[in-house]
Symmetry: C2
Subunit: 235 residues, 2 copies
DNA sequence: CGGGAGATTGACTGATCTCAACCCGGGTGG
DNA sequence: CCACCCGGGTTGAGATCAGTCAATCTCCCG
């Protein structure tokens, strides 16, 4: 029983149940302009790009979006993914700086925009919401700190194993143990922080070692425990 | 005219002028237990360690502290430094998780503790404060994202140049252009995310190239512009 | 059928890590 | 007063992980 991709969604309900806006009061929720519904985007489209002035939260209703920075040499680094319920652009909205990341659609998406001024007024008027938002930021900060240590100290092999496990945890497996997210080899490389060729070589090593199976972009996880071990993940 | 290291400080005044608590009301400030003054620490001491339960903000009044994570192989990664006015431990306090970093004194320090419950009550009662705290977290998040991209994409040489410049910007130079922070080679390596020997070799390269001068742990910056160029810093 | 994007493979290179030896200055105890 | 020790700093040699370049392959699409 799969939900058709474009089934209309009760946006108000979605915001109240699945997002950081869950503790807004009814009257505060009323202020969010959702009558037009979310905007739709197709794979490959950008929502915003590094350096742009953005002034508001982009709340993902459907789809998967990659959030990445482009290095001075043109190579991208994927910082995280946003999936339904996640917020993009909150950092720049809060600090008032230009966007420090770009956001590009991985899987056809629907996104609704919430003006920055509105968010800021909620922060000031609703302590519960402020706390939720603060928690969101702090969680991301914790992830970022882990990421820094990993990239600095682990080998590419270890990081790739770790990335596969994180993808499993974030996006789950389908009934056949395939990762429910489909990335190009290059995107995988941009996530691990390495070259495309290195990802390819290591993936086939993992395949040889019966840790995964590859069917085009679909990756089947065969031995999670071993991957966790390879990734030196102490969880 | 140097301020004696232990000159008594008006803590209340300090909190109101130099920290994220600047927008608390008088009566809120009154709630912060500061009558005993800050705690003092000597170089090498820990304030808290990774994995500890901490429940409150540690506000640096004096000194310099390194905030770092220890990788699975025992090597440290310095995430950032805390200096007077900075807060440590706010991430764990907000999320309620165990500390994900350790904090060790680099320069003799004084630190005052502010209970987490108090901070959370301020977040809920004072929107101005909530906003300041949120900004603080978001700024750090932006730095962390930059850091991730740098470590993943830049060479050690580039990163070392960048680190030197960042140290200059954070801690300034004295009258003779020496960095006002003194780190061991190992600490420098843990900041760059590389091996001690690599830092040593690159530092002497920089010295050869007349970009810096070395006098023990003291580093004199001779050519900031060139270092910025080497570090590929587009600022 | 041709074109193009992504995936794969191989060969080569080189930046960086590791290991090991050695140096140096300061502090300590005999 | 001196020998020793220790932590940090430095240097060299060798090993290697991983990045680059280039050729080829495989689909998929028009």
């Amino acid at each position: 029983m799969i939900k058709p991709a474009n089934e209309p969604i009760d946006l108000r309900d979605f915001l109240q149940k699945k997002t950081v806006f869950k503790h807004l009061t009814e009257s505060e929720i009323d202020l969010i302009p959702i009558e037009d519904g979310p905007d739709s985007f197709k794979r490959g489209e950008f929502i915003y790009e590094e350096g742009h002035r953005i002034n508001g939260f982009y709340c993902v209703v459907r789809g998967i979006i990659k959030i990445f920075k482009t290095g001075f040499d043109g190579k991208d680094m994927i910082i995280r993914f946003a999936k339904p319920g996640d917020i993009m652009g909150f950092r720049s909205t809060i600090t008032g700086e230009l966007a420090c990341t770009s956001t590009k659609i991985i899987e056809d998406a629907a996104v609704c925009f919430i003006p920055g001024e509105l968010v800021k007024s909620f922060v000031k008027s609703n302590g519960e919401f402020a706390m939720d938002l603060l928690e969101l930021a702090c969680n991301e900060l914790g992830d970022a700190n882990d990421y820094i240590t990993d990239i600095a100290q682990k080998t590419v092999r270890e990081r790739l194993a770790e990335v596969l496990i994180h993808l499993k945890w974030s996006f789950n497996l389908d009934s056949e143990n395939f990762l429910q997210i489909s990335l190009t080899r290059e995107e995988l490389a941009n996530l691990v922080g390495t070259a495309t060729e290195s990802v390819i070589r290591l993936l086939s090593e993992f395949k040889q070692d019966k840790l995964i199976e590859l069917h085009g972009r679909k990756i089947k996880i065969l031995d999670e425990a071993k991957l966790i071990k390879i990734g030196n993940m102490h969880y």
